[in-house]
C-alpha cells in the first residue's frame, strides 16, 4: 500500500512550518539568557529598538501592556526575576530580515547576577539512595507507594540483588526544526505551526498569554517528525506576542542549536533497584528513582509516578516499596520523548532482571516467563491486567534466541528486552463524518506527523468499518476554528482513539440512514453505479432518496467521539503522590544480537527481532514502519545518544556531529513480527504502535552485551568507553 502522501512528499510539495510565509512578514529571534542560574536585574532593549529594520523588541517589562490580562503568572513568556537555564529566552526581537533581527538581538543587554547552577543531581544529593528527605530544597515532587511485607521478603531472601543504574538525557532530533507564523488582528490571534496537538497548543498558548482559547486559532502544517517534541505550546507564544507588538505577521523558526538548547526532552536519572529472591522467584523489590526534571516539568507527579510503573512491571512482584524524587535543575525543561522515560526505566529493570536470572543460573527468557504478567494478573498497583501478548512474544523470542545461537558466529551476544505500554485513549477524540454521493469525508483535527496515523491509519479503520474502497475515503484537517476537538497525536493513541470516534460516528450515521429508509436491519455503505449508496438487506438505496438537497450538496454530517477509560489502581498502596492506571496492556519483546570489540568497547548490532503486541494489525506497512523506526531510534539511545553538560549548565554537544543519531550504514536487519490476538483499546481491538517499539531496545542491547562479555554496563548509552570500563572491572 503506497501512502497517500508519498507523491506530494517525494516531490518536495509538502508545506511544513518552516516553509510558511505571508505578505508583510517579519522575522523573529529570541534573546537567550547568558548564564544558567541567577537573578535577572534588567533587560535593556534600547539599542535593539534603534537597530536597522527592527519592528518590535520586547522583554519582561513589555508583557503587561501587550497581553490583556498580563499572561499566566506561573509561566511568564519571559522571566522577570530568575534565570532558570542557560539560553532561556528573556526577550525577543522582530525585524524586516532575519539578519537584522539577529544583529538587533545581539544588542540586547541582559544583566544577571549569576549564581552557581545545579546541573548534576547526584552532586547535589550524594546521599540520595537512602537519605534524601522529600522536602529537601530542589525536590519538586515526591511519590511513594508500597504493598505487602517487604521487610519479611528481604529477611527471608536467599539473596537481594542490588544495583544502581544511570540514564542520560536525549534529544528528539526530528529533522524539521520548530517553526511558526503568527498574526494578531482585531483581537483575533492566529498561528500556523508545526504541531502534534493543534488544540493542545491552543489551550496551552492561550493560558500562557492569558487570552480566551476561543480568540486563538491554531492551524497545523505537515509535521516533519514529532516524537513528542511538537506537543503543547513552544514557539507560538513568543511569535504571537511579537505579532501583537508589531502588528505584522511574525515568522519564528528554530535552528538545530536552538532545538538542543531549548530541550524539552528526557533528562538524566539515577535508579536504585533491590530485588529479593527465594526459590528462584522474585519475592520483593525496593526502588528509588531520582529524576532530573530540568527547570520545570508540567505534571511532575506524572513523570515520576508514571515512570515508576515501568520499574515494577511487567513482572509479578508480591511486595514492594517505591519512591521517586523529581529534582529541579538548571537545564531546559523536561519534556515528552517517544514513550517518555520508558526506555530508560526498562533498560534499568530489564537489565536487572536479566542479571538476576544469570545470577540464579536460570535462562533469562525462562526466568521472565515465570514472572511476566498475563491476563488476570495484577500490576504492582493492584490493577487487573487485560489481554497482554508478553508470553506469546517471549515464546517467539525463545525460538529466535535458539536459532541465532545455532547460526551466528561464536562470541555473538544475544539479549532479550521486555517492555510494556498502554494506548492512551483517555484523552478525548472527536470526528465529524460527512457523507456525499461521491465520498465519505473524515473531518478531524490532527495533522500527519509521519507515522501514517492520519493519512493511512484512519483511512484503514474506515475501510474496514464501512467496507468502502480507499478512494472513496478522505481525511480533512483545517484548523482549531473548524475541526472537532482532539487532544493530539501522542501516547500511541491517535488511530485507536480517533478510530473509535469514527466507529461511533459511523454507527450513528448508519442508524440514521436506516431510520430514514424506514427499513429494518442494519444499513451499510456501498458503491452503486459509481456513487455511494445505502445497502439494507438485499436493497440498495441511492443517497438521493435519503438525503435532502442541502445534504446532497454539503454532505450528511454526523459527529462521533471517544473518551477512553483506564482501569483503577488500589489507592491503599499509595502513600504520597499520583500513580496511574492503564487503558490496555501492550507488550514489546525484543531480541538483539551483538558483537563487542573487547579492546575498544565498541558494540555492533548484527541482527534484531521485535515481537510486537498489536491486538490487530490495521495496516502492515504502518506496522513495519513504526517497528523499524522505533527500534533504530532506540538503538541511538542505547549506543550513542547523550546530551552532555558542563558544570556551568552549558550544553556541550548541541549539534549532529557531537550528538550522534544512527545513520543508514549502521542499521541491522530487523525482523518485525506482529503478535495478534490480545485485544486492546482501539477499534477491532488494535493497540497503539507509535511508542512501544522503542521501549525495550536499550535493554535488549545491554543484555546482549552482557551475554557477549559477562560484563554488565549500568549506564546509558553503552558508549565504547563505558563498555571498555565495565570489561576492565570484570
Amino acid at each position: 500500500m503506497t501512502r497517500s502522501d508519498a507523491a506530494l512528499k517525494l516531490r518536495g510539495g509538502a508545506e511544513y512550518g518552516i516553509d510558511l510565509e505571508a505578505p508583510g512578514m517579519v522575522h523573529a529571534v529570541l534573546v537567550p539568557a547568558p548564564v544558567a542560574a541567577g537573578a535577572l536585574r534588567s533587560v535593556d532593549l534600547a539599542a535593539a529598538r534603534r537597530a536597522p529594520g527592527v519592528v518590535a523588541a520586547i522583554g519582561p517589562a513589555d508583557l503587561a501592556a501587550l497581553l490583556p490580562h498580563g499572561g499566566d503568572p506561573d509561566r511568564p513568556v519571559f522571566p522577570s526575576t530568575r534565570i532558570l537555564y542557560r539560553n532561556q529566552p528573556v526577550a525577543a526581537v522582530a525585524a524586516e530580515t532575519l539578519a537584522e533581527a539577529r544583529a538587533a538581538a545581539r544588542l540586547v543587554r541582559v544583566d544577571v547576577e549569576a549564581t552557581p547552577p545545579l546541573v548534576d543531581i547526584e552532586d547535589r544529593y550524594p546521599d540520595w539512595p537512602t537519605g534524601l528527605a522529600s522536602d529537601a530544597p530542589g525536590v519538586v515532587a515526591h511519590v511513594h507507594a508500597r504493598h505487602g511485607n517487604l521487610d519479611a521478603a528481604f529477611a527471608s531472601a536467599e539473596f537481594v540483588h542490588r544495583e544502581v543504574y544511570r540514564t542520560s538525557g536525549i534529544e528528539h532530533v526530528a529533522l524539521e526544526p520548530h517553526a511558526c507564523l503568527a498574526e494578531v488582528r482585531d483581537g483575533h490571534w492566529r498561528v500556523r505551526t508545526t504541531t502534534q496537538t493543534p488544540f493542545g497548543a491552543r489551550e496551552d498558548a492561550a493560558e500562557i498569554l492569558g487570552i480566551p482559547a476561543e480568540s486563538l486559532e491554531v492551524e497545523g502544517t505537515w509535521v516533519g517528525g514529532g516524537f513528542g517534541s511538537k506537543g503543547a505550546a513552544f514557539l507560538e507564544p513568543y511569535a504571537l506576542v511579537l505579532a501583537a507588538a508589531s502588528g505584522r505577521p511574525v515568522r519564528l523558526a528554530f535552528g538545530y542549536r536552538d532545538e538542543f538548547f531549548q530541550g524539552r526532552s528526557t533528562l538524566p536519572a539515577v535508579i536504585r533497584l533491590e530485588t529479593s529472591v527465594r526459590d528462584g522467584t522474585i519475592t520483593g523489590r525496593r526502588v528509588r528513582l531520582l529524576l532530573d526534571t530540568g527547570s520545570s516539568l508540567p505534571g511532575r507527579d506524572f513523570a515520576t509516578g508514571y515512570a515508576i510503573g515501568f520499574l515494577l512491571g511487567p513482572y509479578r512482584i508480591p511486595a514492594f516499596e517505591v519512591e521517586g524524587y523529581a529534582i529541579q535543575t538548571n537545564k531546559p525543561p523536561f519534556g515528552p520523548h517517544r514513550a517518555p522515560f520508558a526506555p530508560q526505566c526498562v533498560f534499568a529493570i530489564d537489565s536487572h532482571t536479566d542479571g538476576l536470572a544469570r545470577r540464579l543460573g536460570v535462562d533469562p527468557v525462562e526466568f521472565r516467563l515465570r514472572h511476566v504478567w498475563q491476563a488476570g494478573d495484577r500490576t504492582a498497583f493492584g490493577q487487573e491486567v487485560g489481554p497482554f501478548g508478553a508470553i506469546a512474544g517471549l515464546e517467539r523470542a525463545r525460538t529466535t534466541v535458539a536459532e541465532w545461537r545455532r547460526t551466528l558466529p561464536p562470541g555473538t551476544g544475544i539479549g532479550v528486552g521486555v517492555g510494556f505500554w498502554s494506548t492512551s485513549t483517555g484523552a478525548g477524540g472527536e470526528v465529524r463524518l460527512r457523507l456525499t454521493p461521491a465520498e465519505l469525508v473524515i473531518e478531524q483535527a490532527e495533522h500527519e506527523i509521519g507515522s501514517g496515523s492520519i493519512v493511512r491509519g484512519l483511512v484503514a479503520v474506515a475501510e474496514r468499518l464501512f467496507g468502502l474502497p480507499t478512494e472513496r475515503l478522505r481525511v480533512v484537517t483545517t484548523s482549531t476554528a473548524r475541526d472537532p476537538y482532539d487532544s493530539g497525536v501522542f501516547g500511541s493513541r491517535t488511530v485507536a482513539a480517533l478510530g473509535r470516534a469514527i466507529e461511533a460516528a459511523g454507527t450513528a450515521m448508519l442508524a440514521r440512514l436506516a431510520e430514514r429508509a424506514k427499513a429494518k436491519g442494519t444499513a451499510t455503505l456501498t458503491v452503486q453505479d459509481g456513487k455511494l449508496a445505502v445497502g439494507i438487506g438485499a436493497r440498495s438505496i441511492p443517497l438521493s432518496e435519503l438525503l435532502s438537497a442541502e445534504e446532497l450538496r454539503d454532505g450528511l454530517v454526523v459527529e462521533g467521539r471517544h473518551y477512553g477509560r483506564s482501569g483503577a489502581i488500589d489507592p491503599s498502596r499509595v502513600v504520597e503522590g499520583s500513580f496511574y492506571a492503564y487503558t490496555d496492556f501492550t507488550a514489546a519483546v525484543h531480541v538483539a544480537a551483538v558483537t563487542v570489540d573487547r579492546e575498544t568497547g565498541s558494540v555492533k548490532v548484527l541482527r534484531y527481532a521485535a515481537f510486537q503486541d498489536v491486538g490487530t494489525t490495521i495496516d502492515a506497512g504502518m506496522f513495519r514502519g513504526q517497528v523499524e523506526g522505533g527500534v533504530v531510534m532506540g538503538l541511538g539511545s542505547a549506543l550513542t545518544e547523550e546530551t552532555l553538560w558542563d558544570p556551568d549548565g552549558r550544553m556541550r554537544n548541541p549539534g549532529l556531529l557531537d550528538y550522534r543519531i544512527p545513520t543508514i550504514a549502521e542499521v541491522p536487519e530487523i525482523e518485525a513480527v506482529a503478535i495478534e490476538g490480545f485485544p486492546g483499546a482501539g477499534p477491532f481491538g488494535m493497540k497503539g504502535l507509535g511508542e512501544p517499539p522503542i521501549i525495550p531496545v536499550p535493554a535488549a542491547v545491554a543484555n546482549a552485551v552482557a551475554d557477549a562479555t559477562g560484563a554488565r554496563v549500568l549506564e546509558l548509552p553503552l558508549t565504547p568507553e563505558r563498555v571498555a570500563r565495565a570489561l576492565m572491572v570484570d
Binding site: 508545506e15 517528525g225 543519531i661
Partner: protein, 157 residues
C-alpha cells in the same frame, strides 16, 4: 556586498539575480526562487536534507554559496523527475513507502539520484548505502530506504 549571479535551475533558462555574496544556495532556492522542496535542516552539513545536484554532483546547498554555482546546472527535488535516474528513485521510494514525515525525503531522493549517476548503474547496493550516510532520517529506521535502493539495484523500480 551584493552582486549579480546567473542561476540555471532545473533546466530553465538562466536567471539573473542580485544576491549577497555571503548568501547560501539553500536560502536563495527557498526564499528567492520559492523552491521550498529543498529542506532546511542543520545548516552545518550534517543532515543532508538540503542536498541538490550541481552539474549532476550531490551538493549540500547549506554549505554552498549561491555565487559558487554561477553558470552551473542546479537540480532540486522539484526538477528531479526530469532525470531518468531521478524517476527510478521516485518510483522505488513510492513502491517501498520509503518515507514517513517526508522532511528528509527530498534530500534522500536527490542524493540517491546523484550517487547512482556517480557510481554507475552496476554499483553494489552496499556502496550506494555507504554513500547515503550523509543523509539522516529519524522516522523510518532507514530500512525502507535500503529496500528502495535494492529495488533499483534489481532493475525493478
Amino acid at each position: 556586498m551584493t552582486s549579480e549571479v546567473a542561476l540555471t535551475v532545473n533546466g530553465a533558462a538562466p536567471r539573473r539575480l542580485a544576491v549577497p555574496d555571503s548568501e547560501r544556495l539553500l536560502d536563495t532556492l527557498r526564499w528567492r526562487l520559492g523552491l521550498k522542496g529543498t529542506k532546511e535542516g542543520c545548516r552545518t552539513g550534517d543532515c543532508g536534507a538540503c542536498t541538490v545536484l550541481v552539474d549532476g554532483e550531490t551538493t549540500l546547498s547549506c554549505l554552498t554559496l549561491t555565487h559558487e554555482v554561477q553558470d552551473r546546472a542546479v537540480t532540486t527535488v522539484e526538477g528531479i523527475a526530469e532525470d531518468p535516474e531521478g524517476r527510478r528513485v521516485l518510483a522505488a521510494f513510492a513502491a517501498e513507502d520509503a518515507l514517513q514525515c517526508g522532511y528528509c525525503t527530498p534530500g534522500f531522493v536527490v542524493s540517491l539520484t546523484g550517487i547512482r549517476k556517480e557510481l554507475g548503474a552496476s554499483a553494489p547496493d552496499s556502496a550506494v548505502i555507504e554513500a547515503l550516510q550523509g543523509n539522516l532520517c529519524r522516522c523510518t529506521g532507514y530500512l525502507a530506504i535500503v529496500r528502495a535502493v535494492a529495488r533499483i539495484g534489481n532493475g525493478n523500480p
